[in-house]
Symmetry: C2
DNA sequence: ACGATTGGCACAATCGATTGTTTACACAGT
DNA sequence: ACTGTGTAAACAATCGATTGTGCCAATCGT
């Protein structure tokens, strides 16, 4: 249906290759102005649009990048995705978005899929049950940038946050308010961010002599329900914690709902600090004390790093790891610890 | 680098076409079991993955669908995107996500881009400054499903909500609480959803004899700032409205922030009803009274409708329009009107 | 036993572009 | 007149798969 190079060539009375060269406007290309005009006219008249698929096949360059995240429905990822898409648009790259739901199997399948589609680069937040897919991308020498999570024993490009410090500071803030028993609601276990945040939490617990107990470490997922259930479990303890460190957007909403259901008040009965990036944070039941991420910065750093790798002449550049600092906003969900 | 059909064929000692046929497991294909085995072994050994680009070129089928939305960072769209991506995954379609920022120019550019990429179908929320791009898609006979917005004079597939009724009911609820002066905060003007919601608002205003004034119709954008500015403007009036009908997620946060900045209380000083789909809605300063959308249903209906069109043998199926009912949740941001 | 069928696979064209190599011709230099 | 040089464009291979057709040998029918 659509016009092809051949059609344009026929109409302009030249060979397809000539049309191609003229349209790709190569430097010091010698073409008669009259020919050039005939070609442009033909392109115009036939409303010719080059076929990307054919181009990609021939040039081994698809102008496509993959973005693999756990859940594009989560504000954290959707806002990063937005940035990447935006910058991609400016550079003529389109973005294929993939959700893993934190399932390694989906991630593996997607990686294979994307590789066989010939993507020019990949930005991903790995599920981290295995490093299989990351290694596969590396083997194929497809430029890769990890976001938020890292395999510490694999040297890759990455944009990550200062998790240890952020968690430590959050707990310190609670300590300053007199809290002794702080729970840590983790998302999935063995994820880089969780390990690091736990490290910061643990460090503060040790340093400030807080109550140390495995029962204070709960949760195993990033969803609303995960947050709700873990919190409910905590609150049903005989001696529940007086403060919660939450580690995700959806976990946070779940935790808040559980607290309210119990009829407890924030922060009078229980304080809450959250790793959260929702635009709603400041307008919750109580304005939420948060550790938030500069999402635009994360997205743009990741994209630019990827682009650099894609456009580099080297087959592989030495990996770069970029550390991004979180922001700590003390609002109203953290207050003095109740006297025991 | 990666193995091709030819490599596999060479290793198995057969012709590439044979490999292709075996792998595509055509029905009643006559191939010796020994040959078949040699081929599968070769595929295994070479770790062969077919090249999607080449396939797409030859078969004129890319197993790719486009998704064009105003802003993937907005929870409304990101959660719909998630559903579409999920269902696509099950059917082996990947999704290219595009943000228009409500710019018609970006939309047009994307549509051209996606068409020249040979997408199999397109789901879009049009910017609606012009119907140019929609018509272009239609001309190319690429299956199309519109979400949320509709061109009433173009017959296309679409999944939309009962906007008129939803807005009418929301205003009626306010009327029942004694409100006489209700403001309408629209997003962009001349968008289908806005026109329809305004129609419902207007109908209620007329029917219940509410204050009718152009000064009560404000706003021209879907962002936080748009909501904030429009609300601030309203509140600075000598006689501000006692209730607000908000028409978007981000507008809502903006409006709330403006109200709080003014030192006003919700709902004592001013009531708020919002078209909002954030998971945070129930946990805001006051649990938000909302008109929300069944986002999974919208996404899945749209995807399935698209798939039906893609897989149909007919070149074009008669367009289907699916109406989805919103959900009205009365929470605590709406209360009795202040006595005047 | 001989032509007809059919099973099993190879051949070659094709999708739509890109790109290295040739060709055809004009003109300049000797 | 003949070689050399450069210009303008054509030719043809190629990317990696799919698919209509052709071919050879074994089997079948009579």
């Amino acid at each position: 249906m659509a016009a092809t190079l051949k059609d344009v060539a026929a109409r302009a009375g030249v060979h397809p290759s000539t049309v191609s060269r003229v349209l790709r406007k190569q430097e010091n290309l010698k073409i008669l102005d009259t020919t050039r005009k005939r070609i442009f006219d033909a392109v115009e008249e036939l409303n010719y649009q080059p076929d990307f698929t054919a181009r990609a096949l021939r040039m081994k360059k698809s102008f496509t990048i993959g973005l693999i995240v756990p859940d594009i429905g989560n504000p954290f990822f959707s806002r990063i995705a937005r940035t990447i898409e935006q910058l991609g648009f400016e550079k003529d790259y389109t973005v294929i978005v993939c959700n893993t739901d934190e399932h390694q199997a989906k991630e593996n399948k997607y990686v294979n899929h994307l590789l066989s589609r010939g993507i020019d680069g990949l930005i991903m937040v790995p599920a981290q049950d295995s490093d299989e897919s990351v290694n596969k991308v590396l083997e194929h020498k497809v430029p890769l940038v990890l976001i938020d999570r890292l395999f510490e024993d694999i040297n890759t490009n990455a944009v990550i946050s200062n998790n240890v410090e952020s968690a430590y500071n959050a707990v310190k803030h609670l300590v300053d308010l007199g809290h002794k028993k702080v729970a840590f609601l983790r998302g999935r276990n063995n994820i880089y961010t969780m390990t690091k945040r736990f490290e910061g939490y643990q460090k503060a617990v040790d340093e400030f002599g807080l109550v140390k107990s495995d029962s204070l470490i709960v949760g195993n997922g990033f969803s609303f329900d995960d947050g709700h259930n873990a919190t409910t479990k905590l609150l049903n303890c005989p001696e529940p914690p007086t403060a919660l460190l939450l580690t995700g957007n959806l976990i946070t909403v779940g935790a808040i709902s559980a607290i309210l259901e119990k009829g407890l008040k924030i922060p009078e009965d229980i304080s809450v600090v959250a790793f959260a990036d929702s635009i709603f944070s400041p307008y919750l039941v109580k304005p939420l004390t948060t550790i938030s991420h500069p999402l635009y910065e994360i997205g743009s750093k990741a994209f630019n790093l990827l682009l650099e790798n894609i456009e580099s002449d080297e087959e592989t550049l030495p990996p770069t790891q970029i550390m991004i600092n979180t922001q700590f906003d003390i609002r109203e969900t953290t207050g003095k610890a109740k006297a025991a």
